[in-house]
């Protein structure tokens, strides 16, 4: 047990937890005002349901010894998850569990971006819980558990380029296809209702992402068998999005003459996504290059997607799927043993790392796509996935939550509990009189 490591990991866990509310603001600002609460709740609810799911079962399926494909039930209900060191680390096992919980929570919430403004909230929660157990936990096991097959193969995924971003984005793509487009999609302009929220969300995501990436060292700096230093991941997490933001804004200016705010917020997220798998493996200068390169595919994927029938409403695929894939592959290019203490990439004389990275990404894409499709079909067979067209028109805030994001209160009549009592009495009297007649 190293006290500095424990202290840093406690802070990092709190930082990553903040990413889910941050995502709520990022997504919430991008939708129309009548769907703002619903969209934000899709992220917030994950803090509850998936926090519980993770502690009860998910953690065990992901990090139980098990086999190459799946953990086991040895840590179910947090059995044997105590104050002793987590295997291969210098921090308490419970803290490692909590840190990983924040990843499970935010990954699932990412999917919601593709199905906002139309999915019924109840069906969404059921989907989320099943997805976490059937897709997230196994994939997490493959890549991060010492017994997982991708881990053993040597796939590099520092903080979750494949486990979190490619995984969520592929599932988002499938979910958007299964649910179909919003009724207004491609028929009328659907504009972000609060761009300052989008910027706030992007800023808070960046802040939380320091915990996400630098926390994935599972230590403050001591060599612990996994990675060398949190400081490397911290600095690359600062530099890569800076490069993406710069390149993205220049692309904006060259193409349209103006740097856009929604573009800037998106660029930050793309840069963060791209550096995630590489965070502790590359040099700071490589991080700048990686962030800059990552701007291009996502930028043009966004433009292309808007012209298609695919209503991936908040571009989870372009930002997280494309950004995550590019990041995972570039990890194989830019990795440097001098910085990570682990392996070199293509540029530093180890072309084989690229092959392993491709296998990792391909495996996650295939598994997440198939299983998400199956889960949605199963849930869809039991309950409707989509709100009906009338409810969609009225807005998901009122129809799913009985609240509005922005209401003046004019015309709202207070329903007082005192008023109910005389009414009940009246009804009882009427019933008695009815009996007499």
């Amino acid at each position: 047990m190293v006290p500095a490591d424990v202290a840093w990991m406690i802070v990092a866990t709190a930082l990553v937890l903040l990413m889910t509310p941050a995502l709520a603001f990022f997504y919430g600002g991008l939708v129309r005002s009548k769907n703002a609460l619903n969209t934000m709740m899709m992220s917030f609810i994950s803090l509850g349901f998936l926090g519980v799911t993770w502690a009860l079962v998910g953690y065990s399926l992901a990090f139980g010894t098990g086999n190459a494909w799946l953990g086991d039930l040895s840590f179910v209900f947090l059995k044997d998850v105590g104050l002793g060191e987590a295997t291969g680390s210098t921090i308490p096992h419970i803290l490692f569990m909590a840190f990983q919980a924040t990843f499970a929570i935010v990954t699932a919430a990412l999917i919601s971006g593709a199905i906002v403004e139309r999915m019924k909230f109840g069906a969404y929660i059921v989907f989320l819980v099943l997805w976490s157990l059937v897709v997230y936990s196994p994939v997490c096991h493959w890549v991060w558990a010492p017994t997982g097959w991708l881990f053993k193969m040597g796939a590099l995924d520092y903080a979750g380029g494949t486990v979190v971003h490619v995984n969520a984005a592929v599932s988002a793509l499938v979910a958007a296809m299964v649910l179909g487009p919003r009724k207004d999609y491609a028929r009328q302009a659907i504009l972000p209702h609060n761009v300052p929220f989008v910027l706030l969300g992007a800023g808070l995501l960046w802040f939380g992402w320091f915990g996400f990436n630098a926390g994935s060292a599972i230590a403050a700096g001591s060599a612990n068998g996994f990675y060398k230093s949190a400081a490397v991941a911290f600095v690359t997490t600062m530099l890569a999005p800076a490069a993406t933001l710069t390149v993205w804004s220049l692309l904006d200016i060259i193409r349209g003459g103006k740097a856009t705010a929604v573009g800037a917020a998106t660029a930050i997220v793309v840069g963060l996504v791209a550096i995630t798998p590489a965070a502790g493996h590359v040099s700071p200068l490589s991080a700048l290059a990686l962030g800059g390169i990552a701007a291009f595919p996502s930028y043009f994927a966004l433009l292309y997607r808007a012209k298609t029938k695919l209503d991936d409403s908040l571009d989870v695929v372009a930002a997280h799927g494309v950004g995550g894939t590019v990041g995972a592959l570039l990890t194989g290019v830019f990795s440097q043993k001098a910085w990570s203490g682990l392996v070199d990439g293509l540029l530093f004389g180890n072309p084989d790392q690229m092959r392993i990275q491709v296998i990792g990404v391909a495996a996650v894409i295939a598994y997440a796509a198939v299983m998400t499709f199956v889960i949605l079909k199963v849930v869809g067979a039991v309950m409707p996935l989509r709100a009906d067209v009338g409810d969609e028109g009225l807005g998901m805030d009122v129809t799913q939550h009985g609240e509005e994001a922005y209401t003046s209160g004019e015309g709202a009549i207070l329903v007082l509990p005192e008023l109910e009592a005389p009414q009940v009495a009246l009804q009882a009297r009427l019933a008695n009189e009815g009996g007499k007649a």
Binding site: E403, E410, I413, V415
Partner: protein, 122 residues
């Protein structure tokens, strides 16, 4: 000359505009209004405070038209705004005493006839 005033659902505005443009109705003003038209009141709860929203948000369109344009305008709004459930709104057709076009000072019929620029309606 008539003034067509229509109160329609927020989410049907786009459909109404599409129908109006198809019917060649070109000048209009819209505003956001709140009203009550007998629809079921939405119940909302905020941490134990339960309210009935007796006013719902609507869009009001005002369109000044010459007489022979009244029917096409009304029909276009009917086509665009109808969902079949209570709360679709109303259309009022009012007589108009005088119309002026501010730019040219034209009056009445001339003031609500779209200008032709270079042989192309604008």
């Amino acid at each position: 000359m008539k003034l067509v005033v229509a109160v329609v659902r927020h989410e049907k505005l786009n459909d109404v505009l599409v129908e109006l443009f198809k019917a060649d109705v070109q000048g209009l003003t819209i505003s956001e209004v709140r009203g009550h038209g007998g629809e079921i009141e939405q119940v909302e709860t905020y941490r134990g405070t339960t309210v009935k929203m007796s006013l719902s948000e609507k869009i009001r369109l005002e369109i000044g038209v010459s007489d022979h344009f009244v029917q096409p305008t009304v029909q276009a709004i009917l086509r665009g705004a109808s969902t079949g459930s209570v709360g679709d709104g109303k259309i009022f057709v009012l007589p108009v005493e005088k119309i002026y076009r501010i730019r040219t000072g034209e009056e009445d019929q001339a003031a609500v006839t779209p200008v032709t620029v270079g042989g192309k309606k604008k």
